[in-house]
């Protein structure tokens, strides 16, 4: 394997981790009415990076809230091109990542999509239906364009698989919190800490828990083991119900609790 380059988002995450800060990455569905204001509010409230969802017609890793948001964004006319165009104008102080399904990447073409991300100021990509074995061509294009590809690790992974996933991960390792799709849950699944602990034991790439981290208390619990959290459905629900202000208040609340 060639030498592992550390991209700008990962460098920033490592530096913050070294300074004792837990990392908070809210997810916002791009193209949803008000998404840019919500994104700025999340940054102002203390987000360390933002994951922008590029909606896809068939989001198999997503539960009802993000499905509903994706559908609404598509009905509002959102496309990968329009979202990246809008992202370019955001001018925020934290790294921006995109989350999208592989057909969006495949259809555009690997090199072209990576170039589109780079020119929109996006530094990282998360593609939840592109597992390690299929990721080679995209990762080659992403590496060349300076896009950090975040890899997901799942509770079902046997021990021998995790080091290979972590070795291919750039930016951070997305430690999937539970067996299931995105969405809010009453309690943090017991699998969340267990997987994060296994990952922390084998990699120094930042490990963030996402999927099923639903409120400030759960985020704090996750951060006892992990380097941070990704929060999706809980953020998107607030955007759908209360707009940018509700997103800002929620992120500020989570920030305060995980910093305590």
């Amino acid at each position: 394997m060639s030498e592992r380059a550390i991209g700008s988002m990962e460098a920033e995450f490592r530096a913050k981790r070294a300074a004792g800060r837990k990392l908070l990455v809210p997810y916002i569905t791009g193209g949803l009415p008000g998404w840019q204001d919500a994104l700025r509010a999340a940054v102002a409230a203390g987000a360390d990076a933002i994951e922008i969802g590029i909606p896809f017609s068939d989001p198999v890793m997503d539960g009802p809230i993000i499905q509903q948001a994706s559908q609404a964004a598509l009905e509002a006319g959102a496309t990968p091109v329009s979202i990246l165009h809008d992202a370019r104008a955001l001018d925020v102080s934290v790294p921006l990542a995109v989350m999208t399904y592989y057909n969006t990447v495949h259809h555009a073409g690997h090199e072209r999509f990576a170039a589109q991300l780079a020119s929109a100021g996006i530094v990282a990509a998360i593609v939840p239906d592109l597992p390690l074995e299929e990721s080679g061509p995209w990762c080659t294009a992403a590496d060349a364009a300076g896009i950090e590809t975040v890899m997901l690790a799942a509770p079902t992974a046997p021990d021998e698989r995790l080091p290979r996933v972590a070795a291919r991960a750039r930016g951070f390792v997305y430690s999937v919190g539970l067996l299931g799709v995105t969405g809010e849950r009453d309690v943090l699944a017991h699998t969340a800490a267990a997987l994060a602990r296994r990952l922390k034991a084998i990699t120094d790439v930042p490990v963030l828990i996402g999927v099923g981290v639903s409120n400030a208390a759960q985020a704090r619990e996750a951060c006892e083991v992990a380097d941070g959290v990704v929060m999706g459905a809980s953020v998107v629900r607030r955007l759908l119900e209360g707009g940018a202000d509700a997103v800002g208040e929620f992120v500020a609340d989570v920030r305060a609790v995980i910093d305590r």
């Binding site: 896809f56 017609s57 068939d58 989001p59 198999v60 890793m61 539960g63 499905q67 559908q71 598509l74 496309t79 990968p80 091109v81 592989y102 057909n103 969006t104 495949h106 259809h107 555009a108 939840p128 239906d129 592109l130 597992p131 390690l132 074995e133 299929e134 890899m151 997901l152 690790a153 799942a154 509770p155 079902t156 992974a157 046997p158 698989r161 996933v165 999937v176 539970l178 067996l179 299931g180 799709v181």
Partner: protein, 386 residues
């Protein structure tokens, strides 16, 4: 080597196939692949499946020569009667194989998607037979137009969940079944209903349907003294077509898979990735999957199994499409001339034969009659008037 040999180690047929699933499901797909390879090489597993196919499903299915319709069309038409299998379609072949395999793997629960309800009914049947739990996801549109099959599944002890997301048809039922599987993978087997999805499904489901192609080849030779000139089947995901083609792919037989005009993924020849596979896919300029529209719920699918994309790309099989109106005519024609009420899905194959009859003059044509039409009678009553 056969043109329909095993796929590559990454589950590819040419450049199609693969395993594009969430990380959570990768170990499950790997485990399934290993279990299938092991079972398929095990004479005891084969014997048990053979026993079920012969003593429960009613195999082998017969071949019927359509003398009346042959005269009318000016060709020699044979039907492979998968409609006479238990549960009324070819779907039982695959489901018995997968349910046996799931039991062997220690799984206690099946989830399945269904369009017309044929695969759902077959899955519910196998679950009842083998004492497993079963949950079937079905698009809300299809629940409405196939209420008889919904009731059948419930009678058989399965839970049926109507899917209200997206186009509310087969595509969305697959999404919801995959979401269920992501959450329940430790106890649950996803009993996928066609030659689609992530590796090893397209390969495994083909192997479970190979029995119908092998029977059809032997029966054709017994009846005709030769393989047929043309073999025809309808294609949604493409499982009954792949079963039929497997019997003739290395012969001179012309292979024809018939898609609905509103779900003609192969004609558009645009590769995409959804439901775990790279294959031809109906999609817009940004890669959003488009909704298929067909009179038959079972073919209402914007993609197609990857091996069909491969066979099309190398020119070994052809994939024309027919309109709903042609399908309705063919449905009536077979009932009137041969006394057989076909499923609307299988009527697509006949619709193409009727259209192509002038160029097929004098040829032997073997069509897979993949399912019976009882489930479609209520819908056709609305279309044709009482």
């Amino acid at each position: 080597m056969s043109l329909m040999a095993d796929p590559s180690a990454t589950g590819r047929f040419g450049e199609f196939g693969g395993r594009f699933v969430p990380e959570t499901l990768v170990p499950a797909c790997q485990e399934l692949e290993a279990a299938f390879i092991d079972a398929w090489a095990d004479p005891a597993f084969r014997a048990e499946l053979h026993h079920l196919l012969t003593s429960y499903a009613g195999r082998p299915s017969i071949i019927t020569e359509c003398t009346n319709l042959s005269d009318e069309l000016g060709l020699r038409l044979l039907l492979k009667r998968e409609d006479l299998n238990h549960t009324g379609s070819h779907k039982i072949n695959n489901v018995l194989g997968q349910a046996l395999l799931a039991k062997r793997m220690g799984k206690t629960r099946l989830v399945a998607e269904t369009g017309a309800g044929q695969h759902g009914v077959a899955s519910a049947t196998a679950a009842a037979l083998m004492g497993m739990q079963c949950k079937v996801y079905m698009g809300a549109v299809d629940v409405e137009r196939q209420e008889l099959n919904v009731f059948r599944m419930k009678l058989l002890g399965s839970e049926v969940e109507a899917v209200h997301s997206g186009s509310r048809t087969l595509k969305d039922a697959v999404n919801e079944a995959m979401r269920d599987w992501v959450a329940t993978v430790e106890t649950t087997h996803y009993c996928l209903g066609s030659v689609m999805g992530p590796h090893p499904y397209p390969w495994m489901v083909r192997e479970f349907h190979r029995v119908l192609g092998e029977e059809a080849r032997a029966q054709s030779i017994a009846l005709l003294g030769d393989v047929p000139d043309v073999a025809v089947a309808c294609v949604g995901g493409g499982s009954n077509a792949i079963g039929l083609f497997s019997g003739f792919v290395d012969d001179r037989t012309r292979l024809v898979g018939v898609e609905p005009a509103g779900g003609a993924a192969v004609s558009r020849a645009q590769p995409g990735v959804v439901h775990g596979m790279r294959s031809y896919l109906m999609q817009d300029e940004y890669g959003q999957v488009q909704e298929a529209h067909s009179i038959s719920a079972g073919l209402d699918y914007p993609g197609v199994g990857p091996e069909h994309s491969y066979l099309a790309s190398i020119g070994r099989a052809e994939y024309p499409n027919v309109t709903d109106a042609e399908v309705v005519s063919a449905f009536q024609l077979l009932a009137r001339t041969e006394g057989i009420i076909t499923a609307l899905e299988s009527a697509h194959a006949l619709a193409w034969i009727v259209r192509a009859a002038p160029e097929l003059r004098g040829q032997t044509v073997l069509m897979n009659l993949s399912g019976r039409g009882d489930k479609d009678v209520a819908q056709m009553m609305d279309v044709l008037g009482k």
